[in-house]
C-alpha cells in the first residue's frame, strides 16, 4: 500500500477520486488532470475527520477474486429471489438469523454486510452495538445453521484473509 503523507492523508481515496473524475469527464486533457488532482487532494483533506483508520489490503488479488465471486452470486441471487416471488404457492420460510462475526474491523464488516444484502435471499438488518453479531433476515431458509456456515465459508473467510490475516 501507498503510505499516507501530510498532503495525501488517504492516498487510495485520492487516486480513486482522480480516476473517477477523469472517467466522468471522458477526457485526459491537461486541464482535467489539474482540476481532478486539486479535487483529489482537497476532498480527502476536508473529509478526513469523518473517516476511520483505513484497513490495509493485504491481498489485492484475492480482493479481485472476491469481487467476481460476488458479481456471479448477485446474478444467482436475483434468479432465486425472482423464483420465490413468482412462485404462486408462496412457500417461503423467512427467518431472522443471528450471525456471529469473526471480523473485527469496521470496513470489512461493512463489505460483508453489503455482500450479504446483495446475495441469495438474505438482507443484513442490524449490526449489534458490540460489533459481534449481525442480524440477518433471510427470505427462504431451511436450516439456519447451514446458512451461517455458508456465509462464513464463502464470504467471511476470504475477507478475513484479505484484510486481517
Amino acid at each position: 500500500m501507498i503510505p499516507p503523507t501530510r498532503w495525501l492523508p488517504m492516498p487510495v481515496l485520492s487516486l480513486l477520486l482522480l480516476l473517477v473524475w477523469l472517467l466522468l469527464q471522458q477526457s485526459v486533457a491537461l486541464g482535467q488532470w489539474i482540476l481532478g488532482g486539486v479535487l483529489a487532494i482537497l476532498i480527502p483533506m476536508i473529509c478526513r475527520p469523518f473517516w476511520e483508520r483505513q484497513p490495509t489490503i493485504k491481498r489485492p488479488l484475492k480482493l479481485l477474486g472476491y469481487f467476481f465471486r460476488v458479481l456471479g452470486d448477485i446474478v444467482t441471487a436475483n434468479v432465486q429471489v425472482s423464483k420465490l416471488i413468482l412462485d404462486p404457492r408462496g412457500r417461503m420460510r423467512p427467518a431472522f438469523v443471528e450471525y456471529p462475526l469473526t471480523l473485527k474491523e469496521n470496513f470489512p464488516i461493512t463489505i460483508l454486510a453489503s455482500t450479504i444484502t446483495m446475495t441469495p435471499g438474505t438482507v443484513s438488518a442490524h449490526l449489534r452495538l458490540d460489533g459481534r453479531t449481525l442480524l440477518i433476515h433471510a427470505l427462504d431458509v431451511a436450516d439456519t445453521k447451514a446458512l451461517i456456515d455458508e456465509i462464513h465459508q464463502r464470504y467471511e473467510r476470504p475477507l478475513l484473509e484479505i484484510f486481517e490475516s
Partner: protein, 130 residues
C-alpha cells in the same frame, strides 16, 4: 453479422433488466411483511437497473465511441443499494414492525419494548430508583 450479435446482446440486457425490475416491484405487492418486501428492491431492482445501464452502455459505445460513465453509475448503484436496504431494515427493527408469523428466529431488537410496558403499568410513587 457482428451487428446482429451486438444488437441481440443489447436487447437481451434491456429485456432482462426490465424483467428483473418488474419482478422486484411485483415482490413489493406480493410479499407478506416489511422485511420480506425489502428483498425485492434491494436485489432484483438493482440488477434490473444494472442490466438496463449495461445495455445502454453497449448501445451508446457503438454509436459514438466508448462510454464509461454508465459503468460508474452501475457500480455506484451496487455500492449504495445495500446501505439503503440496511438502513430501512434497521429503522423497521427500531419501530418494532411485526414480522410475518411464519418467520423463525426472535431477535432481541423486536421484543425489548415489552419490559417498558410493565414498568409503565406498575403503580407509581414507590419507585426503587432515587
Amino acid at each position: 453479422m457482428l451487428d446482429t450479435i451486438i444488437e441481440g446482446a443489447i436487447a437481451f440486457m434491456l429485456i432482462a433488466g426490465g424483467a428483473f425490475a418488474f419482478i422486484g416491484s411485483l415482490g413489493l405487492t406480493h410479499l407478506k411483511d416489511f422485511y420480506m418486501r425489502l428483498h425485492g428492491p434491494s436485489k432484483t431492482t438493482t440488477l434490473g437497473v444494472g442490466c438496463t445501464l449495461i445495455g445502454s452502455l453497449i448501445y451508446f459505445s457503438r454509436e459514438d465511441g466508448p462510454i464509461i460513465q454508465e459503468l460508474l453509475i452501475t457500480i455506484f448503484a451496487f455500492i449504495t443499494a445495500p446501505v439503503s436496504a440496511h438502513m430501512l431494515a434497521k429503522s423497521a427493527l427500531h419501530h418494532k414492525l411485526k414480522p410475518d408469523p411464519r418467520t423463525r428466529g426472535n431477535p432481541v431488537e423486536l421484543e425489548s419494548e415489552k419490559p417498558k410496558h410493565t414498568v409503565e403499568e406498575a403503580p407509581q410513587g414507590d419507585s426503587p430508583l432515587p
